[in-house]
């Protein structure tokens, strides 16, 4: 059994931020330096080759362009200050040509050529070219406003989960992404670039996490009212742990888990009569309108990032989800009494493979 993750608090940077609250001045000064690691979503804190390439490209571009920028501005300002000289027409033409050809043509041609020579191979390295050993394939399907994640290659049969993505570390993974409704975008900032999730199409992006770790993701294409609450918990684990994680989520194992605890038979009945119209729990229902809940107890967060998973969190969600995440597609179930919601929540929390 896996431990529950206290969402976000796992990041040491956050604690640093909290400490720095003591001294606002230092906070402001050090923020720029430390911000690179301040969050889980910084592209300047790469955890994979693709993201590292881009971060490097960024720093190189920033340095070079800062020089260009300061140079151009300084020249303009100097043109105001400098003493005026009279030139003959021929001299003027020569000076003008020097500026226009040197600054207007050679400088940009040189800069963009250098960039492309750097950038195109970097892009090529990210292509999902055929490998001698085919990479793990994970399918990610965007919904308004949650993530469906499928593992078609799992030994023993396909594994389905929602709003969490567990991937093997240290090896390339091909993500096959698509959408069930509007356009979303799949983006794990610390691992690499993003790709759109389009209905009717499957896009492939190859990413690799160097080491095991937790990497946040958030939908990057505006997808409607709750675009802001479409977080994906991403964790890279060692190969063995990954296999074990998949094995824990085989259909029959999950089905056993769902009915393991007799004290929740009432909650199960409520689930089957109400929730099962949209949600599936292995062994009880197969609906695909809302997120699959078969291993919800083991997920680190609820509602696409609205709540961290804690004891009682599911009940809290069930009571307040339209306030926590207004306009989400789940109908309000406030008409149920507290006891029912409490037992429903408690049962769902036991779905922890």
């Amino acid at each position: 059994m896996r431990e529950r993750y206290l969402y976000h608090v796992a990041s040491p940077c956050i604690q640093r931020v909290a400490l720095r609250r003591v001294n606002r001045l230092i906070l402001l000064l050090t923020m720029l330096v430390l911000a690179g690691c301040a969050g889980d979503r910084s592209i300047l804190d790469p955890a994979g080759q693709a993201a590292r390439d881009v971060a490097l490209v960024w720093w190189v571009m920033l340095t070079f362009f800062t020089v260009v920028f300061i140079g151009v501005i300084a020249l303009w300002l100097y043109a105001f200050k400098r003493k005026h000289h009279e030139h003959t027409a021929a001299q003027e033409r020569k000076i003008a040509r020097r500026w226009i050809i040197g600054g207007g043509i050679l400088l940009p041609v040189f800069s963009v050529s250098a960039l492309l020579m750097f950038g195109i191979p970097a892009g090529k390295r990210m292509l999902p070219l055929p490998l001698s050993e085919p990479p793990e394939v994970i399918e990610v399907i965007g919904h308004q406003w949650w993530w469906e994640v499928r593992y078609p290659g799992a030994a023993g049969g396909e594994v389905v989960t929602s709003n969490q993505l567990i991937m093997p570390a240290g090896e390339p993974v091909d993500f096959h992404v698509t959408s069930a409704d509007v356009i979303h975008a799949f983006w794990i900032p610390r691992l690499g670039g993003k790709v759109d999730m389009l209905p009717g199409r499957v896009n492939v992006i190859r990413l690799e996490a160097d080491e095991p770790g937790i990497f946040d993701a958030q939908c990057a294409e505006f997808c409607g009212t709750q675009h802001a609450h479409m977080d994906l918990y991403v964790e890279a684990v060692g190969r063995e742990e990954f296999e074990a994680w998949l094995a824990d989520r085989q259909g029959e194992r999950l089905a056993e888990l769902a009915v393991a605890n007799d004290e929740f038979s009432q909650a199960r009945e409520t689930f089957v009569s109400t929730c099962a119209a949209c949600h599936s729990v292995a062994g009880l229902s197969t609906a695909t309108i809302g997120p699959d809940l078969s291993d919800i107890g083991a997920r680190p967060m609820l509602g696409g990032g609205v709540l961290p998973m804690e004891e009682g969190a599911i009940q809290y969600w069930l009571e307040n989800h339209q306030t926590l995440k207004p306009s989400n597609k789940m109908p309000s179930i406030n008409y149920m009494d507290t006891a029912t919601l409490e037992s429903l929540g408690a049962w769902l929390e036991t779905l922890t493979p």
Partner: protein, 842 residues
């Protein structure tokens, strides 16, 4: 020719000349002010309305910055926030940036090229009313809390009826299309005015650079806007009728919308930038006290930008999943834009370098432009790099970049231009002190807001989120951005107060207060409705520098067209290349038709919004009626130029020639139409080859025989039109009416045949995108056949009234051009829709 200096006129004669000109050109007061077509008045109306929308857009921006100033805010609900962000982008782009620059061009171009008005004044008025009504309709959606909320680029399927069931998207699609009529009208007439109405001797290479910039902008509008108009029509048809152009299940493709949107959307950035750069290129030489360095290079750069900017649209779509090689094409093309940009920046630098620059208020805004725009340009090059783009696309980095380019590249030059031309607008000088305060507040506020926002984006903050959790390191930067935003607003408030106060307290300006070189400063301050008493011959690029007496001479009526006793509004029609005078163009005077036509179109827009289709149908008929009535008052019509007498030695009136500006306007309009048609063909082939669920029936549902017969009828009609024109060239107008009626009849036959094809095809337009897109093509052909028939019919009737004939041969030439366009397009349509599917098959 009477264009060379006349004798100095006596004071009484001069007074009479002024009175005559005022009588002919003057603006009516009261309710009749709604009929004004004069470019000076309408240019100001455009700019003032644009400023009003700028304030609305600015308030929306402040709401956004308030909401995301701190994490977990509840200032606005997510629904309202989406509406606010969508409307901020929409208002700023479509209702502020483009119209205000068009307004400036409308105001300035005739004055700069030595003309008295634009060449199609009623079109200016129609454009203004469409803009005003469209803008009001669109803004009204916010009052109803029904504003569009799918982001300003309206990506489907989010904007489709399934995911946006309210009226929001409809407001956007219909309102924006309505406003685009305005942009297109301005585009067409600016092109024709710049090419055909420059004063005598102003050859292409002596034109002020501003006119080059506006020429490029206008041509880009003409080519760039139609793809979005097509896209909007298709999306509105999908929403209203259920034709599945963008719906995967029906064989459509949402990515088609993105292509159509960005085919417009990227050029649009340059449509905004070019006129602003034109302001920069006008102001810098004046304050450097010397001609621009590298005039030819700048023309080169303008041309390159005008084209390359159409080859960049996919760089907004790098994450869509297009093959990387194709992305590399667009990446490389995007980077090429650095070259013309670099050339302009360094040409301006060289001008300052070799001149004696003075730091006046307009120049301060130019420096602000430089700092911000160069920064935005450099991040633009970064974004063109595909792997980097994949990381920062749709984050606040892009938001920051875009504001650097648009505010730096458009707003700062615009402010420089407004301060520079204030004496022209008001006859008074701006104040240097409050103006400087305003500048620094805006400049500092802007950079505080947006420089830091690059960093927020790099830290992973996506755009358009209404809330965010604390703990990603975004909080402090968002707060700083919001504070900067409010500082910037305070700056703009100060600038607006300064401008408002100057109308009352500004020092009166003397003639040519900045010692500029271009003709607009030869106007009285503020200008009279007719601009110039006489139109001067020009020999250099810098008339006022090399001929400082020119304003006085022009005011004394010592140059061309210094008469108005004939009651016509006249300007020169000159050769587009050499600037030699070819004819006298007489332009229509004040008219109700533009307002009425725009009101009818507003009724159409609103009834489409409310799904009152019969009312919309009636509105369309009425609008067309007004427009046709408008076209009736042309040529030898009593309200236009019933008699053709001109001063001895002057060239003939344009309506008495075969090559008047109307022909150029028709050609330009057909470029726009052609761009629309090509976008349609692109859509057809795109869906055919790329759409994942495309279904092509085994046999084409269109009757090839009927279409070919229709095509032959069209050819026949066109041949009749051509022969009419040939005979008119030989001064023959016997049987002219019969030929025109014959053409109308053949056009009618084509119309009936297309209708029959539509009827017989049994298209299931709500089932498959194939049938839906075929139907759109057939409707396009149907409308064109009807239009060809109707305008030929009207010409036939005009022959009866003697408005058209050997003595006034102009209009049939214009109509014949339309027929030519029709022939080409219709046969391409037959080949693409009916022949190719038979040859290749699904």
């Amino acid at each position: 020719m009477s264009t060379i200096d006349r004798e100095a006129t006596g004071p009484e004669d001069l007074q009479k000349l002024h009175d005559d000109l005022s009588e002919v050109w003057g603006n009516p007061k009261g309710l009749k002010a709604l009929t004004i077509v004069n470019h000076t008045t309408l240019g100001l109306r455009f700019m003032v309305t644009g400023m009003a929308f700028f304030l609305i857009g600015g308030i929306l921006a402040m709401l956004i910055r308030t909401q995301i100033a701190t994490p977990d805010q509840n200032f606005m609900t997510p629904e309202i926030y989406s509406q606010v962000t969508t409307m901020h982008g929409t208002v700023m782009m479509f209702l502020f940036a483009i119209p205000i620059l068009e307004g400036l061009a409308i105001y300035m171009i005739p004055k700069m090229i030595g003309a008295r008005d634009l060449v199609c004044p009623r079109l200016t008025a129609l454009g203004y009313w469409c803009y005003l009504f469209g803008g009001i309709i669109l803004s009204f959606s916010m009052v109803l809390e029904m504003a569009p909320d799918s982001g300003w680029f309206m990506y489907t399927p989010l904007s489709s009826s399934e995911y946006s069931p309210g009226l929001g998207s409809d407001f956007w699609l219909l309102g924006i299309t309505f406003v685009e009529i305005s942009a297109l009208s301005a585009g067409v007439e600016l092109v024709v005015s710049i090419l055909r109405t420059r004063t005598q001797g102003m050859a292409l290479h002596k034109m002020p650079l501003f006119a080059w910039y506006i020429l490029a902008m206008a041509l880009m509008i003409v080519v760039g806007f139609p793809p979005l108009i097509l896209g909007s029509i298709l999306l509105e048809l999908e929403r209203a009728v259920g034709m599945p152009f963008f719906d995967i299940a029906g064989g459509g493709d949402p990515v088609l919308w993105q292509h159509l949107f960005w085919l417009f959307g990227h050029p649009e950035v340059y449509i905004i930038f070019l006129p602003a750069a034109g302001i920069v290129a006008t102001i810098i030489p004046v304050f450097a006290g010397r001609p621009i360095v590298g005039y030819g290079w700048v023309v080169f750069a303008i041309t390159v930008m005008g084209f390359i900017s159409f080859g960049l649209w996919v760089h907004h779509m790098f994450t869509v999943g297009i093959p990387q090689l194709a992305q590399a094409f667009f990446s490389a093309a995007s980077m090429l834009v650095a070259i013309p940009t670099g050339i302009q920046i360094f040409a301006w630098l060289a001008t300052l370098w070799l001149g004696k620059p003075k730091m006046k208020l307009p120049m301060l805004w130019i420096i602000g432009f430089l700092v911000i725009f160069v920064c935005g340009g450099l991040t633009g090059v970064m974004l063109a790099l595909v792997p980097f783009n994949w990381q920062v696309h749709d984050t606040h980095f892009v938001v920051a970049h875009m504001h650097y380019v648009l505010v730096g590249g458009m707003l700062f030059p615009l402010m420089a231009g407004i301060y520079y031309w204030l004496p022209l607008f008001s006859g008074r000088m701006p104040s240097e002190t409050i103006g400087k305060w305003g500048f620094w507040l805006v400049f500092i506020g802007f950079n505080v807001t947006f420089l830091i926002m690059h960093w927020t984006g790099l830290l992973g903050m996506p755009r358009r989120v209404y809330t965010y959790d604390t703990g990603f390191g975004w909080d402090i930067f968002n707060l700083i951005s919001s504070i900067g935003g409010f500082v910037m607003s305070a700056g703009f408030a100060m600038v607006l107060i300064d401008i408002a106060l100057h109308f009352r307290y500004g020092k009166p300006a003397k003639t040519n207060p900045w010692n500029a070189d271009t003709l607009e400063w030869a106007n009285q301050l503020p200008p009279s409705p007719y601009n110039f008493v006489s139109l001067p011959p020009i020999e250099t690029r810098h008339p006022l520098w090399e001929h400082p007496e020119l304003p006085r001479e022009m005011q004394e009526g010592r140059h061309g067209l210094a008469t108005a006793s004939h009651g016509r509004r006249e300007l020169w029609g000159t050769d587009p290349l050499t600037g030699k005078v070819r004819e006298i163009i007489h332009v229509p005077s004040n008219s109700w038709w533009p307002l009425f036509a725009a009101m009818a179109l507003a009724v159409v827009c609103i009834s489409l919004l409310l799904r009152w289709y019969p009312v919309a149908g009636v509105g369309v008929v009425i609008a067309i009626g007004f427009l046709l009535r408008w076209s009736w008052e042309n040529g030898a019509h009593p309200k236009a130029a019933p008699d053709a007498k001109v001063m001895p030695g002057d060239p003939p009136l344009h309506s008495r020639t075969m090559d008047g500006p109307g022909l150029w306007a028709m050609t330009t309009a057909m470029i726009a139409n052609g761009s629309f048609f090509l976008s349609y063909l692109f859509g057809w082939f795109y869906l055919w080859t790329v759409s994942p669920e495309w279904r092509m029936p085994d046999a084409s549902p269109l009757s090839l025989v009927a279409l070919v017969v229709a095509g032959i009828a069209l050819l026949g009609g066109s041949a009749l039109m051509e022969s009419s024109v040939r005979r008119l060239r030989k001064q023959l107008d016997k049987g002219l009416a019969m030929r025109l009626y014959g053409a109308a009849l053949l056009g009618g036959l084509q119309f009936v045949l297309i209708l029959w094809v539509m009827w017989n095809a049994n298209l299931a337009v709500t089932e498959t995108s194939h049938d839906a897109i075929l139907m759109v093509g057939l409707y396009y052909a149907l409308l064109h056949s009807a239009l060809g028939a109707v305008i030929s019919l009207l010409q036939g009737m005009r022959v009866g009234y003697r408005y058209v004939g050997a003595h006034a041969p102009f209009e049939p030439v214009v109509v014949a051009y339309f027929w030519r366009y029709n022939v080409v397009v219709f046969w391409i349509l037959i080949a693409a829709l009916a022949v190719l599917p038979r040859v290749i098959g699904g």
